[in-house]
Symmetry: C2
Subunit: 228 residues, 2 copies
Amino acid sequence: MNAPALLTSTEENYLKAVFALAQPRIGTNALADRVQTKASSATDMIQRLAEKGLVEYERYRGVGLTPSGRVAAAAVIRRHRLWEVFLAEKLGFGWHEVHDLAEELEHVQSPELIRRLDAFLDTPSYDPHGDPIPRADGTWPTAAGIRLDQVPVGQSFAVAGAADRTDELLDYLHRVGMVPGTEWTLSEIVPFDGTRTVQTRSGRTLDLSALAARHVLVQPHESQTPNA
Amino acid sequence: MNAPALLTSTEENYLKAVFALAQPRIGTNALADRVQTKASSATDMIQRLAEKGLVEYERYRGVGLTPSGRVAAAAVIRRHRLWEVFLAEKLGFGWHEVHDLAEELEHVQSPELIRRLDAFLDTPSYDPHGDPIPRADGTWPTAAGIRLDQVPVGQSFAVAGAADRTDELLDYLHRVGMVPGTEWTLSEIVPFDGTRTVQTRSGRTLDLSALAARHVLVQPHESQTPNA
DNA sequence: CTTTATTTTTAGATTTGTCTAAATTTGAAT
DNA sequence: ATTCAAATTTAGACAAATCTAAAAATAAAG
Ligand SMILES: [Mn+2]
Ligand SMILES: [Mn+2]
Ligand SMILES: [Mn+2]
Ligand SMILES: [Mn+2]
């Protein structure tokens, strides 16, 4: 049971990609796509990770994480998301800007650094995108919320996160002010196309397409049933 | 006048080493020593940096920085020392622990990150070791202080830094409480061997060898000439 | 001035991560 | 069953960074 050998930044990036995409396995092309490389390179790396016991790999059949691979991936994701919280909360970056920076910071190797960063940030459970931050013991907080398209009319809620990390989505939500922590009430659902109208306490209203609503995660408040 | 091409972590580490050691030139062995590698590897890297115009290199004659090499080195040192301040001030690391972590963090490439980190730390002028932090415009604050062995008896002062970064020195000073920001008065110099006795306002005294005194940088207060 | 010791550079090999192009395998469609 | 297209793997090459061992230049002694 020797301590897990240190991984390179590249290996860590591949592990995260396998974690994100494997259900329970993922093919070489999709993986290569995710880590911005070619399928042949992905095959190479997968074979090396398989020898280290981090992924289980069967030729032509795809790749998945082993238990120890899952542990390693969770550690990287923990670092990534803690840095994202730091960048957003302490340095004032927008949620659409933090990912690329965290992608580099996550590879700085030091358990003590992460312990102290975690404490400095008051042990957050979710990152600025609403994604759960694995705990130091490897367990995961439960998902941050439900999708806005599943909220009934009249319900008020706080924005908890976004369902994916594309720049288009994050920039849009940032621009219209639907960022984590803001408070809204769903005032209408247009039957024709599912468009949602939401409003702030101060009365500002905003229309969201059904597609957009499907990509916003929210935390509903206890329902103040309008009239009993 | 294209923007300076991005440098690898390794190139940045070599540049810092040349900056630290070249006065005005440094040999391959000393350089290799500093970056923990072999002379042959250092030669390779130097030749590549020379082609990029960052060092001036003459075979068998040693290597020094060009003006643009000095600019690049200052930028790396700025990042390194800002991260050191962050680690010490915000995360509570001791001054003897911050260097190795900063050695990694300094390579994260993002001008905006450094701008915001600098502001978050209130634009510090010195790092936890008392070394000056190059400003965003590339200029340098003046040195933090004078050596303790040059302070006269009766003089009070604040510890500003250490004259080198060896673990032995930093651990020792940390253990006896002579860390940056602490206040002392020099009460005696033993004529025989130059031992210094210093004391805190609360009366705690501490003896420092002449050797140790030579490695502590201090900021003297205006002299309260004991009796006019 | 020669010889010797030191420093520095080259030559050749290795590891990591990547690429293109060619060869295999798989799975789906006739 | 054949044929075909897509996915995947191999083969071979390359750049970055490193190493060891051998060659070359410089500096120091004699
Ligand atoms: Mn990354
Ligand atoms: Mn995130
Ligand atoms: Mn470094
Ligand atoms: Mn320092």
